[in-house]
Symmetry: C2
Subunit: 527 residues, 2 copies
């Protein structure tokens, strides 16, 4: 009789803990885990052709599933390749069971070429790092990793799995799966209502609502929370906003309007200038993405006071309910957005505004928008307010190449919903391998590539940092027009049908055609 | 009067120290460096559309130029994206001046989204890490980084450049470039002849040559060294080999035959079994790439003795000359390989052997072969021995996605020489963005993609680790055939002309056509 291997036990433990999707790019040291997939069954494995697809997909998955997926990465270099999207996932407070293979203990002593300091790399992007020491520890270690990833907020839990631990058989008496404590569903934040500064918050909202802003982040941008925010706004007349970056904003018609703070420093300063009190609901104090020589890093007015209603550890819904209660706003109707899209142009040239309007007019019910249209999409927030109800996911860590992998993960987490990935051509080239995974899994993803053939944002940034007008050499570092990239050709070469659109009418038609069909489609939006 | 910015000073310092190529993917925090490129001039900047292209190109550049290039990476995530090819470069002992932007000191306090622990990431792949503290330090810091990178062996010298250091102007009195000590040319190893175990080496070669192997690594695989190894072999009858992985092997007709140790454990064990003494010339004790449950990690026979003629810190040529002298072999003629290629088939099916033969028969003089054909290319070493003289570069760190970026760097380091990149479809997908840089720079690179539509090596590895025959789920983690990737389409979409070849005749014709034209060309070799 043969017993389970450590790898088989790990797959069992993951499944026992409701982790049943694994984004993977395995190598030799992970072959026993791969073999275990056959024996154990039930784990959905999705192959990415680069680890940044794997980790970005796990981020998108968590945001929509409210529970972690596992990853499977090959040693230090495999982890290294996945780091930047793990960085993004960490900043989004996504939970991931991040499994990284390693050499056997004996082989590590030999300093083979692939040897590297996995723990040091993992530590930069993980809240929890642990190396399994033996097959008999795997059930406990795996369950602990899931528990960490499922916390509130979510966490990157990196479990390092040496090859010899994976291939060793468990002793007979240890072969039963340890029944780990079932993790709390991550959808339900574990903490009690924070209400850290409740009395002062109530006072500010009652006495000076005009200069008080409610700033929502993390889970407070879900509809169950924004509806409460809407009541508070109705009761007091205060303002409300979401952070610029958001793991998942539930928005659109029938919901409360909650515009995001803008990316650029000047408009953020203008918006925030009048507020003397900012109430943080899962949000952080707003700061600029980058430093500029002549601009402040803090976006609020000097002397602005911050009051914390809830942190990401808390349940924002409970905190907002308590605040509603204190304000007598429980039964007030919030102002809900009407659905109207009559302002979308039927034809004309493509620009940021016309694209945003068409997007808002055509978005299907319950779409999931994954937004990395850093330049072109700057105005989409307001232009899509009245679209059909949808979720809006943005990169949270600023590392580009987020949207296409996250779209893969979101589509797997939410079958039956259309995912719309808004992507720049510069960012898209970071993780174009994602298209292959979309084709392989026949995911319902509409990809819009905004082909402006430049790192559009950097032209503005070069000016913003006061570096002057770019000459030929500097231009060469910003522009992608030599040679031009044929995004339709790239997509079709990876099995994704594609179409080039050069005006509003064809964009609108192509969008609607993509929404009707099963599987992915790429629209190359020629700007 | 305005003074130089820190960024301008850094560009000056790099140029003063003969670092005149910069592989880059800059972001906002690097915009002053980008602006400085216009003002200072003379720096050749090559844009990569993902940082793994940037760092891999710097590796390939160093191997052919024998001096470092600079990189320019955007904060922690930009560095993270480049880490796996920095890992490869470190294992190849390549020197790189690795410049990573960071937020300004003030902005770091705000914990903006892109903030991460750059030092921790850099430390894993760098021999030297330093953060510039002010613009007035930049000249010294930059010169020190170059000096570190130019050491013997080469080193990854990471210089972290905060945005405020880059944008600050130097004080008037500090604006002159510090004249740093010119680094030694890296082509000339700095150390004296090592000759660590000279007496015992001479004794072994004289008394038991049949059981003595000279194992060459690092710079000992250059022609000036292999010609000396050939004399020692002629004088004593000992055996000689190169390590499996090699930064740069100068080989082919007119040179000494120096076969590499094979990748797989069993044939390596068979080759090494008879040797009781291995003489290391810049090489390490040979170990398996991976651990396997039932195979040894050390590839030499138990009790094998290792004697060190030179380490990578030493000059192998001096050490080998001294050894020749001790053996009276100075003027013995080494056996040189004749040029013959009559055994190349003119037509027939494509397989590993026929491809290798055609490659050997057609390779132009002084070609640079960058080899990451992990499955298909397993036999190319022997099949190309008699080709025209050429350099052969392999990945040294085992992280896949090495060849295409390294080909970019090699082509820039060695204009006028044809670069031939041998790449698997699995590995190629890791860094396919390299094709765009090849087109942009019109580099003379012939890319062969061996399209077997699988991670071919992993099928063997799955069996080798004893994980059994793969079922459907495991197969899905190894195979790239759903959907098939159209590599010709990918290449053409990024501006690289491409052709599919399905038999030997068309392969041979396409190879020769690519060698005659200027600029890159991709051959999709359908297996």
């Amino acid at each position: 009789m043969t017993h389970r291997t450590g790898a088989e036990q790990l797959v069992h433990t993951l499944l026992d803990n409701k982790v049943d999707v694994c984004f993977a790019n395995p190598g030799t040291s992970e072959m026993h885990f791969v073999a275990a997939l056959d024996k154990v069954g039930a784990m959905r494995c999705v192959l990415g052709l680069h680890e940044t697809v794997v980790t970005g997909a796990a981020d998108g998955y968590y945001r929509m599933a409210d529970k972690p997926a596992a990853t499977l990465l090959h040693l230090g270099p495999g982890l290294a390749n996945g780091l930047s999207n793990l960085h993004n996932a960490k900043k989004a407070r996504s939970g991931i069971v991040n499994i990284v293979g390693d050499h056997s203990a004996e082989h590590l002593k030999l300093d083979a070429p692939l040897t590297s300091d996995i723990k040091a790399l993992a530590g930069v992007v993980s809240q929890w790092v642990h190396t399994s020491q033996s097959a008999s520890d795997i059930a406990t270690d795996g369950a602990q990793a899931v528990r960490q990833a499922c916390g509130r907020p979510g966490a990157i839990a990196t479990l390092i799995l040496p090859a010899d631990v994976a291939w060793s058989e468990l002793a007979a008496e240890g072969s039963a799966a340890v029944a780990p404590q079932a993790p709390k569903a991550a959808a339900e934040p574990a903490g009690a209502a924070g209400a850290h500064d409740m009395a002062r918050i109530v006072q500010a909202l009652r006495e000076d609502p005009e200069h008080t802003l409610i700033l929502c982040g993390d889970r407070a941008t879900r509809a169950d929370c924004t509806s409460l925010v809407g009541r508070i706004v109705a009761a007091t007349g205060c303002a409300a906003r979401a952070e610029f970056y958001g793991a998942r904003l539930e928005r659109g018609a029938g919901r409360v309007a909650l515009l995001r703070l803008p990316y650029a420093v000047a408009p953020s300063l203008a918006i925030l200038a009048k507020f003397s009190t900012v109430v943080l609901v899962g949000a952080k104090e707003p700061v600029a993405f980058f430093a500029y020589p002549d601009k402040p890093g803090r976006l609020t007015a000097p002397g602005c006071r911050f009051l914390t209603l809830s942190t990401p550890e808390d349940c924002p819904r409970d905190a907002l309910r308590e605040l509603c209660g204190a304000l007598g706003a429980q039964s007030l109707p919030a102002a809900l957005l009407a659905r109207h899209a009559t302002d979308a142009p039927a034809q004309g040239p493509l620009d940021s505004e016309s694209i945003g309007r068409v997007l808002g007019a055509t978005l299907p019910d319950n779409a999931i928008v994954v937004d990395e249209a850093i330049s072109t999409g700057r105005g989409f927030d307001a232009l899509t307010l009245h679209a059909a109800p949808h979720d809006w996911l943005t990169g949270c860590g600023g590392s580009i190449g987020f949207a296409l992998p996250a779209a893969v993960g979101a589509a797997i987490a939410a079958p039956g919903r259309r995912v719309v990935a808004l992507e720049g051509d510069g960012s898209g080239m970071y993780t174009l391998q994602s298209l292959w995974s979309m084709a392989r899994e026949q995911l319902d993803v509409t990809v819009l590539i905004f082909a402006n053939r430049t790192y559009g944002i950097l032209h503005g940034e070069l000016a913003a940092v006061g570096a002057g007008a770019p000459g030929a050499r500097a231009q060469d570092m910003l522009n992608l027009d030599r040679p031009q990239i044929d995004w339709s050709g790239l997509a079709e070469s990876m099995g994704v049908p594609a179409i080039k659109v050069a005006d509003i009418e064809s964009l609108s038609k192509a969008l609607q055609a993509s929404y009707r069909r099963h599987g992915p489609m790429l629209l190359e939006v020629l700007l």
